[in-house]
């Protein structure tokens, strides 16, 4: 017969003692009777349920109903009983959880997994960077990998036979000799040709980022690959200044590497920007100290700074090539930047060999899942 909470009429200590003892022995009997999980759940519900559980009932029937002068005494008893009931039910639960072996499984065995594909780290980084600029209002564009001399060089202010072309180690498409130089095809050496292609199509103002594949005739080694990935950016408007260039890229660095990242801009040379700069980010490996513990920090060559990208104000000569579409260098100004995503990804994840990106090794790829 299940225990029923009696109404108290006698609030003498002896009567209280008796009521408490009855409750305790009923509790002990019910705890002992609860053998399996569902019975234990029922026990817990019966005693501890907020609505009409035994504890709630003694609170209502004993404590609330008690005369003023007995309240203190009854309150103490009720509190003691509450504690005892809760403890008894908890211990019962813990000790009996493993009781019915037939009903339990060894959940320390590994689970059944379903394969989930891993994002490629270079694509992941590309998406992160593109997203940062999308949030700043930049649109996204693409362009062909095989492009003409005109877009890759001439319209970017690399005149034919200019020594600056030497720095690009171009891979050329065969059998182009019969064409005029500007129409000859090559593998774009940077994503910058899409700057021109975009400005030909869209009038200012523009904000655009251009992710894509690029190629150069670099022999493959741990830090070089003939195929690599860049993200180009371009902002042109009536009043873009060098400070805007710096502010935008500083924002990107902080969004990508954390708000404590610092940036430094050093003068550089690119035919299609002027003034030109290289942006360095405070080394996110060593925090800018140049040291990792007692070892020198290799990624930043102990300088505390890592070069991340090239950038600059769009050279007026570049605007001349698209002047017809509203890019009069007297009226608009702008900035452009380009960064190697593979290199940034290597730095971000501490990858020491660029070849790992392109051989499909699942032991490598799955680390990015």
């Amino acid at each position: 017969m299940a225990y029923i909470v009696p109404k108290l009429t006698d609030y003498s200590p002896a009567a209280l003692e008796k009521a408490a003892a009855d409750l305790s022995s009923a509790l002990a009997a019910e705890v002992a009777a609860a053998k399996n999980g569902s019975e234990q759940k029922a026990l817990r519900d019966r005693w501890l349920a907020r609505k009409n559980g035994v504890l709630t009932q003694i609170n209502d029937l004993w404590l609330k109903a008690a005369p003023k002068d007995a309240k203190r005494e009854v309150g103490q008893r009720v509190n003691e009983l509450k504690k005892r009931v809760e403890e008894a039910i908890e211990t019962a639960h813990a000790s009996k959880a493993s009781v019915s072996a037939s009903d339990s499984i060894d959940l320390t065995l590994p689970g059944i997994r379903r394969p989930i594909g891993a994002e490629h780290p270079v694509v992941k980084t590309t998406n992160e960077i593109v997203s940062i600029f999308r949030n700043l209002g930049y649109s996204i564009a693409e362009g062909p990998v095989i492009d003409t001399d005109y877009y890759n060089f001439e319209a970017l202010n690399f005149p034919p036979n200019h020594p600056a072309r030497d720095t690009q180690d171009t891979l050329f498409i065969a059998n182009q000799e019969s064409k005029p130089q500007r129409e000859r095809l090559l593998l774009r050496t940077h994503t910058s040709p899409v700057q021109i292609r975009t400005m030909e199509k869209i009038k200012p103002p523009i904000r655009i980022v251009i992710p894509g594949k690029t190629h150069r005739n670099d022999a493959p080694d741990a830090s070089h690959s003939p195929m690599f990935h860049q993200i180009e950016g371009l902002a042109v408007d009536a009043n873009i200044t060098f400070g805007d260039l710096k502010g935008t890229l500083d924002h990107m660095a902080k969004a990508l590497f954390g708000s404590s990242a610092k940036t430094q801009f050093r003068p550089s040379f690119f035919p299609f920007t002027e003034p030109s700069a290289e942006m360095f980010v405070s080394c996110f490996i060593c925090g800018g100290s140049g040291q990792r513990g007692s070892d020198p920090c290799r990624p930043c060559k102990q300088t505390g700074w890592i070069e991340i990208l090239g950038c600059g104000m769009v050279d007026p000569n570049v605007f001349e090539f698209v002047k017809g579409n509203g890019y009069d260098p007297k009226r608009v100004s702008g900035f452009a930047f380009g960064m190697g995503v593979d290199r940034i990804t290597m730095l971000k994840y501490g990858v020491d060999d660029i070849q790992l990106f392109f051989n499909g090794d699942v032991r490598f790829l799955e680390q990015f899942g």
Partner: protein, 679 residues
């Protein structure tokens, strides 16, 4: 390029130590990329942009340091003895475009011997091999003030004169490196009365070089046209320290200074005497007109950080001359120093101001912008497929874009795009298919003991088309090994073409279409009986299946490989499926099973079509539930359990209706050649 800070300090005396000096130079664009050695032998590894030939030497870098620290720059003043009276050598410039200026001096009775220790030491620091006092004098001068010069054995110049001209057809010149070079009429040369004696600005002739026997010397210091030198040095595959500087523009005003400096070094070490005055022939002057600089333009590009006083001060420090401008403080006319041929425009001056002022002093700002973000046209479709593939368990990959001719032949019919200068035969054409790259990646993993692999790559392939190229995008899936992740709980289930089909279906379901058909046999490198081509509304959008055995064998792959190719240019003609809510069914569904025996020649598609043609409006699905061969089933036949599900959106279906429809299904399947086993 190596430079010595100790040598730089010959001309400027900053208090900064070598480390600090390196940082400060780097901050104004004269980049010190690394350092080696110690003390006075410390050497900077410099990275100087192609536009700054003026800073590719010690004096030039000292000039930048002087500007940065606002310190005086010690000039180079060669101390020459009084010249003996004698005839100078006549110089004729026949090509003023190619050679704007030619300056020469004659030294007689010189002793050729090793250079003094200081010169040997400094050249060695820069990895320059010391040769003899005359040649080292030109080298030292090049590294000191940046002007390439050349010394001839005067007695080996025939006819006592110098002519600067284009080479004649058939002429040859053995250059200092010992190579006999055929000259073309485009080559600009230094010649004596009879023969070529030097390739202009690139390399001198072997037969007129300084030797131990040389007594009399002609020093040449010329200004050569950059484009002429560049095309010549490229034509002859001859890139020298001299051509490197002339290609980028040498200092027109330094020909006499450099000539004198070389003479000074040779006379100091080798004795002898200076004969006659300097011979200085100017064929044309360079046009270095003053440039207009407007403060409004400075502000437009840089912001308002620098005022006109600062602008004037910064430019003067770099050797620019501030001439009277029209608008007092708001406009300047700026004279450009002879060593800065790279400064031609107002923007070039603005860059000079910015870099010397210090890039980091310009406050960071963010430009305001009102406009919409425009994604690439296929961004949503790309992302839909990519996230589906990741969820299906395929790892994302990127592989190299080059393949071999052989692979191009084996994997695509499309006309190839060939490279003119490939790195190897294996990488000589642009990929026409993603499959060879995928097979390489799968093999790479199998060779390393990873036997269950699922990969995908999304990217362009390249086709020649007319005079141009196209770059259609594709997705390639590659899978091998088990379909599940085997564990203590379940055994490995080997992948099959049906797994690939399921994945392809999942991907294609994202797109709007009326019909999907699977045609047996994907062709080419696929297993003919275990592959299919997928037609969406009649057009091929994909193919998939098992890789042909011989194809796997040539790659030494021993387990079954499954691939799928999706042609995105075709698929993306379809829009993404519009998602529109349909009310859930209110009335119960009725299922009926039919067990049939069919001849092997009857494929499921035929069964499906036959039942579909009945156009039973309340038939919601008709699927194969079990398939069985062997046992009591005769050879050449198979047993198929088919399951039909009927449901109406308007009412509960009656038994007699369902029975009638079932009868129709049985009839049509019997007509197809099936035998009903039981129902």
């Amino acid at each position: 390029m190596k430079l010595s800070p100790d040598w730089i300090r010959d001309f400027v005396s900053p208090t900064a130590d070598d480390l600090r000096l390196a940082e400060d130079l780097t901050s104004i664009g004269i980049a010190v990329e690394g350092m080696s050695g110690a003390g006075a032998d410390l050497v900077y590894e410099m990275e100087i942009g192609t536009n700054r030939p003026d800073a590719m030497n010690h004096y030039g870098v000292a000039r930048e340091a002087a500007a940065f620290y606002d310190l005086p720059l010690k000039p180079v003043h060669p101390a020459l003895p009084a010249a003996k009276h004698g005839a100078g050598i006549p110089i004729t410039i026949e090509d003023p475009q190619g050679c704007a200026r030619f300056t020469a001096r004659v030294l007689r009775n010189v002793t050729i011997k090793p250079s003094p220790e200081k010169i040997v030491h400094r050249l060695s620091l820069l990895d320059q091999r010391p040769i003899n006092n005359a040649v080292d004098a030109t080298n030292y001068t090049l590294w000191e003030i940046g002007k390439p010069t050349h010394v001839f054995d005067l007695d080996l110049l025939e006819g006592g004169k110098i002519i600067v001209r284009r080479a004649r057809a058939g002429e040859t010149l053995k250059t200092l490196d010992g190579i006999e070079r055929k000259l073309t009429t485009e080559d600009l040369i230094v010649a004596d009365a009879r023969k070529p004696v030097g390739l202009a600005g690139t390399m001198g002739g072997f037969d007129t070089m300084i030797t131990g026997k040389t007594r009399n010397i002609l020093i040449e210091s010329a200004w050569w046209d950059p484009a002429t030198v560049r095309s010549m040095s490229r034509r002859h595959g001859l890139h020298t320290d001299a051509s490197h500087r002339f290609e980028r523009g040498a200092d027109f005003e330094s020909t006499i200074l450099s000539c004198d400096r070389v003479a000074e070094f040779i006379l100091d070490s080798g004795g002898g005497e200076l004969v006659g005055g300097v011979v200085d022939v100017i064929a044309r002057n360079l046009d270095q007109a003053p440039i207009e600089l407007r403060m409004s333009e400075v502000r437009r590009i840089l912001g308002s950080t620098v005022d006109s006083t600062q602008v004037a001060r910064l430019l003067r420090k770099l050797g620019f001359e501030l001439l009277a401008g029209a608008g007092e403080d708001s406009e300047f006319m700026v004279g450009v120093p002879s060593w800065r041929l790279d400064v031609e425009r107002e923007i070039d001056l603005i860059e000079e101001i910015a870099r010397l002022h210090g890039y980091d002093k310009f406050p960071n700002t963010l430009p305001a912008f009102v406009g919409a973000v425009v994604e690439t046209p296929d961004a949503k479709k790309d992302e839909t497929l990519r996230s589906s593939l990741l969820a299906l368990g395929y790892n994302e990959t990127l592989s190299l874009t080059f393949i071999s001719h052989e692979e191009a032949e084996a994997f695509a019919d499309a006309p190839v795009v060939e490279l003119a200068n490939p790195q190897s035969e294996e990488a000589s054409v642009m990929r026409t298919s993603l499959v060879p790259g995928m097979l390489n990646m799968l093999a790479y993993n199998l060779n390393r003991g990873m036997d269950s692999v699922r990969l995908f790559e999304a990217g362009a392939v390249f086709h020649a088309e007319g005079r141009g190229t196209t770059e259609p995008k594709q997705i390639c899936l590659g899978a091998t090994g088990s379909a599940n992740m085997p564990s203590v709980h379940e055994k490995a289930r080997p992948l099959s073409s049906y797994d690939l089909k399921g994945d392809v279906e999942t991907l294609l379901e994202n797109f709007q279409h009326k019909s999907l058909q699977y045609e047996a046999g994907a062709g080419d490198y696929y297993h003919p009986g275990r592959s299919a081509r997928v037609l969406m509304d009649g057009a091929a959008v994909a193919r998939f299946g098992q890789l042909a055995a011989e194809m796997a064998a040539t790659r030494k792959i021993r387990q079954d490989i499954y691939i799928a190719e999706i042609y995105l240019d075709q698929l993306y003609k379809h829009g993404l499926r519009n998602i529109l809510y349909r009310p859930l069914p209110k009335y119960p569904a009725v299922e009926r099973d039919f067990s049939f025996i069919f001849d092997d020649s009857i494929v499921f598609e035929g069964i499906q079509r036959a039942v579909g043609d009945l156009r039973l409006s309340d038939l919601q699905s008709f699927v194969p539930a079990e398939i069985f061969r062997g046992g009591s089933i005769p050879a050449g036949k198979y047993s198929l359990l088919l399951r039909a599900m009927f449901q109406s959106a308007e009412r509960t279906l009656r038994d007699d209706e369902v029975a009638a429809w079932s009868g129709m299904i049985i009839k049509v399947l019997e007509k197809l050649g099936g035998t009903l086993r039981a129902s």
